[in-house]
Symmetry: D2
């Protein structure tokens, strides 16, 4: 009953096998081997983007920060939701990589910005000439930090606002596969066809050891990106091990299968919460994250039985017995059906 | 009828005389002359702070940024009001000088943060260990960008919240003299006695050519501040001309006289707006800034007669005739009584 | 015959096994699991440094930059050899992480600074008050980029110069194990007992997939280091896989065995070059790197037979036949004896 | 007998008069007044560069840093002489403004780089792909920090090397007027006609209170420069006082007259040193700076009589009587002929 995070789970065995296979003999360093070329092409094909710039890094924060820095001047401000990972969970890494840029927080109920909210935020950075920050890119998260998934229409509506102000768009896709599995569309449809310029294509939260692909659909900043990656100390010498993971991930739809499994487990939990007395879902759980309010007594029972998850918004483990507390549950590819059943029965 | 800003007015003649007096013969560079020593001591006496670190720079943004950088790590977030100058009007200079720190915006109605709003903002930067930004200093503006002035009680209530979380406090005093003139208290009472650790002590908006004193009431970061000033290219070689201005400013209460004159002119304008048909004040004009809503027809009349001021919040010079538009009026030490009368008669 | 670099070789099978073992079930993220605690203690024991701060990152550049940043202010200059990796091969990463600090290059013949050269460099950064850069830490590389190894006496002589000026010392130990194997001393003797404050303890070049330990023998900057690591996007969520590699590395002296194998292979090559007609060694090959000058005809023969290594200092593959060209040969743990023999026979 | 620096002298009376004249009534802030437009055009005319971007700042370090930052990426290295002001006297300001770039030091005997030395330094930053720093602009100083002046041929030879590698060129012209006075050529000939892309056009060391013009002969980075200036806190609100100084400076050749006076005084000193027993000039004093070696006994006599100048290279005021010590003498526009005579008689 491990629902603390999708980064607490194991690596998929097929990925481990790929690492073992890659571990034969010598290979040129820094991505100059065949595996990296192959996986780059694989990603370009999957995204129907033959000119896309694709580079691998090991953490999602690195992918986000390096991509944003490629299109954010130090005097710019990045528009993102108030609960975005780049704002709340990266210890000012985007600001560091962008040389001191700002983040403008757009209100959100459920992890998504609304086009109107985004427009208002952009317009509020009114024209002050050189005095105020300049308008930089728009960053959105798919699936969101609240477990919701933007529809293609919602994505397009947001990127249209950005386009109107000639702003670039970034998608934090730490849970890209989970969202794609939900929408059932193509990777291209959920990105560049929907107006996305840059994508952090996550793998770590979905069964890899630590690999994300940073994708720039416009190839203009390729060299700059590579220099930023090296300067940020994110260029791996034994690069083949990043490439091998990503290759296994993309082969035979493993990435989609893992995402589907995680999402299905989440749906099972959601069904349980919908029926559990005194509990309710806080947002629509459309991917592999679920936020719920539950009576403290239920929480005690779950914790006593060994369930692991995070209390949210400052809720403490001890407190009034009749208090309803907020908690987050995240499932991953390795979610165990018997665990789920046990959890549901405890609920 | 010049109400565009207090930085459009001239330098006080006594300050020009001081510059001429300082322009005799040779003087050691970089602040090693007698004038700088004298003015440093003068400021320490006026603030009853014999150990205070005092350094002169030429712009308010430099004073704010260098002071904040002295007590803000790159992974910190600075708490300030949504309309603060450091957020809206410094093109990310604080972020630049702090090496990529963040600003957390506290809601405000009238330029002041409320203690509850500040506390909520601080608490919302919940304990995420190394994942989220760390809590950095609190910065407030006195007088505020909306023309209001914190009472001593209000200042203390805000700094007490900061102290509770062990956070440093900074006061952007670009219009310090105007606020002091309003409160009628001592400089010490409005700063360190009210819990302020760092002060940007403005001169430029109140009759100087371009001098601000950066004051650290706690002397621990003196050397670091000086290195930051030099590295920021803000150490003047011909430093005597900064010192001479500041010395004249502080001599015979010139600074307070100039602030009182500016405030009085603002009060006169305020009285006019209170009586003007269809107009109303947006905030309490407690220093030398006044925001008013006025009918577009009134605006046309004023502009046609040569009055200068800024429309606000995106209001345009052309538009529906019966629209009430927002505008900002700022007075300075040199405000001309006959101009004021003329303006009032036009109102 | 793969002598291009020690980062082109495979991961040791025991390390792969450790990864497979670590891949069981769930584990807390970000280093909060048992493996990380165990490996931290293991390193403290090996270094006889129970209070040392130990953090894992995935690249040597990250270890170097984060460690240096912990003790380098943006207005400082770091003293290092002209051929140091931090100067030549990190695309300004140290400058990035240190917020714009400078590197002062100390002359070197063979990768080592001399105490006199270091002292001269430090003294040349003469006391200009706030005008010039301030003296920051001294960084040395062990084994050096030229394949030489500082004796303990040489290390102590360099750190004594640093101490005299109250400067911190950093050791880039990308090839720490190779140097230790050469000297046959203890890890403590080659570091803190020799006056070293910070160590980049390399693993990647010596049989790991991508793990380095950043070690601060003085624990004062632990929190700051962790914030810097997260802000730099170098905190791994699935941290167990870094810890597992390092644990296998340190268990049963695997790290020393691998280094000894690499060094032995290098010695074999060195013997060959000493006897090869027209060839000569450029520096004393004391670890696993060898620089040699060889006739172009020899080079052609080696390349034709499939040997891989880097030409140096702008030497090109084509050119005058009788020219003697410089080349670098690096061995790693997996060096194949039959390869070596073949190479020697070609020589 | 004030020869400590050209920034210890007074402001020229005509400049003070211009400040007084500018101090009439209201003027738009931030350079939007007529004076700034006028002086911008004046500079464009003087430099025969109608499209040049011209912006005023108050310190030479600001001009240098902002200009260099306009054409230096954080992963670049700037080529400059070992004794350049940007390296030795700006406390890492260029590194700060360039976001962590590097400076590559080119050897120099007399303050000038040689074309061969520059080429060697550029070539030594050999092609390491993304691993090493990238080649950034070349910065030279005219007149140099050692008091020498590049001939037009020398300038062209250096910029040709830069052009060959497609690198931008910057001239630190803190003493531009002194050099121009020596060469007797036109400002255009000494800058863009000689291949210079960016110029820090100094005024502060030559009779102004604190104004430098940053000039970009290629207008492409105008907006970026202005954003950098604001972000660096170097945009003056009461900008008219910068413009007024520069306007007076350029009117009726005041700048050239002041430079000629300073140079003449320096020549007089030089003649004295040439004849003084036991003294000798260290470099050719071609502008307003003179380095000399003189017997300590002579130094004692000069100091006792009140002469002010800097000892150099760590020479101390006390020491062996027969030691010959190095000292720097700088003259400015206000150099007093009777002072000079007295100094010469003491020599």
């Amino acid at each position: 009953m491990h629902y603390a995070s999708d980064n607490t789970g194991p690596v998929h065995p097929k990925v481990m096998e790929a690492l073992l296979r890659a571990n034969e003999g010598y290979a040129p360093a820094y991505g100059a081997e065949a595996l990296t070329r192959e996986v780059t092409n694989q990603i370009r094909e999957i995204f129907e983007a033959p000119d896309a710039v694709v580079h691998l890094v090991a953490t999602g924060t690195a992918a986000n920060s390096l991509l944003l820095a490629s299109h954010t001047a130090p005097w710019d401000t990045i528009f993102c939701s108030r609960v975005s990972h780049i704002h709340e969970d990266e210890c000012n890494a985007p600001e560091f990589y962008c040389g001191g840029a700002k983040l403008t927080l757009v209100p959100t109920e459920d992890g998504k910005m609304s086009p109107a909210g985004l427009r208002a935020a952009i317009e509020a950075e009114e024209t002050r000439g050189v005095h105020g920050p300049q308008r930089g890119p728009v960053s959105l998260t798919q699936a969101t930090e609240k477990g919701t998934v933007h529809t293609l229409e919602e994505l397009c509506a947001l990127t249209e606002v950005a386009r109107e102000f000639r702003l670039r768009t970034h998608m934090d896709g730490a849970r890209f596969a989970n969202a794609l599995s939900t929408l059932g569309c193509s990777p291209a449809e959920m990105t560049w066809k929907a107006g996305i310029d840059m994508l952090s294509f996550g793998g770590t939260k979905n069964g890899l050891m630590g690999v994300e692909a940073a994708i720039l659909f416009d190839p203009a900043r390729d060299t700059e990106f590579q220099l930023r990656r090296k300067r940020g100390a994110h260029l791996f010498s034994k690069h083949r091990y990043l490439a091998a993971q990503m290759q296994a991930y993309l082969t035979d739809n493993l990435w989609l299968d893992m995402a589907a499994a995680a999402n299905a487990a989440c749906q099972n939990l959601a069904d349980g919460f919908r029926e559990a007395p005194g509990a309710n879902l806080m947002y629509r759980p459309e991917a592999n994250i679920l936020f719920a309010r539950l009576p403290r007594s239920t929480h005690r029972r779950l914790f006593a039985a060994g369930a692991e998850y995070h209390l949210w918004n400052g809720y403490l483990e001890s407190g009034a017995e009749d208090e309803r507390i907020a908690a987050r549950f995240v499932t991953d590819w390795s979610a165990n059906p018997s665990d789920t059943e046990r959890f549901l029965s405890l609920l």
